[in-house]
Symmetry: C2
Subunit: 148 residues, 2 copies
DNA sequence: CGGCATCACTTGTCCAAGGCAGGTAAAGTG
DNA sequence: CACTTTACCTGCCTTGGACAAGTGATGCCG
């Protein structure tokens, strides 16, 4: 893994984000495979555990999914995996609410462990103070990029 | 886009990397669509511009592609786009060298502009000193994640 | 109240990425 | 000279993002 100077010269931070993103996603995928999830699906579960049953549009808005069609299919996969259930929204005949199943709830501790492990590996060697500044800077980058 | 506290609690930095990665890739894709590239392809061109003709394995190693099959197809797409050409390696009958075409070279200034724009949008509002520390910290995260 | 735009979701299709499995030809090795 | 390894390619599967089109339910306006 030597340098790729031209890309680095043209945009060193973008370049590093790009590489970090792929490695991080691969690592997350490797850790999550144990529970049969692919990277991203655990985000939906975290959201449901926090907020209770949500409709698809709510999930999509919250997680920044661009496309509702993609959201449908993500939920279908989680449903096939048995972690999530779909119930009609009593308040709106068009909508369906998504909620974790018992199986979904039962993997929660394990998923939280996996995320803790992922975080541990990611920030290895950084002091708590460094972690805090890193997080703050990542948030600034995220805001910039989301806004653009 | 409010918070997703549970994921943030379980791994705030991982969580932010995840979101940043997707937004950044979407932004890069939007900027690059003008020249008919998808995010990632420009990395290959940067590499070739820096190093001259390379074999597929060299490209894959350098950019961290896991799979040689995927590399083959990425190059095929760049080839179909007309930006790259494949020539047999005179030194090794098994290998093919990949090099930019005239069309590939002609988009170079534009791609570098696009990357500069991407970087500008990404680091908007950060002082040069902040950019330097951000870059250093991203590199540390990348090393950690690549190693794990 | 009826008509109509809007909303929530679903399905189909396309393309790109990653991964695995298997195949071919050339190169290297004992 | 066999045998293994290397470099690459192809096929196939799953995921992801995007666009298009369709269905049923809801909301609103005249």
């Amino acid at each position: 893994m030597s340098e790729a100077p031209r890309a680095a010269a043209a945009g060193p931070i973008s370049h590093t984000i790009f590489r970090l993103a792929r490695s991080h996603s691969l690592l997350a995928g490797r850790l999550l495979r144990e529970v049969g999830l692919n990277p991203g699906q655990e985000m939906i579960l975290f959201l449901l555990w926090d907020r209770g049953p949500m409709r698809l549009t709510g999930i999509a808005d919250e997680l920044g999914f661009g496309d509702s069609a993609g959201t449908t299919r993500k939920i279908q996969r989680l449903e096939r995996a048995g972690y999530v259930r779909r119930v009609p929204d009593p308040a709106d005949g068009r909508a369906t609410l998504v909620e974790p199943t018992a199986a979904g709830n039962s993997v929660r501790p394990r998923i939280e462990q996996i995320w803790a492990e992922l975080e541990r590996l990611t920030v290895a060697g950084l002091t708590p103070a460094e972690q805090a500044t890193t997080l703050a800077q990542l948030h600034r980058l995220e805001e910039n990029v989301a806004k653009a």
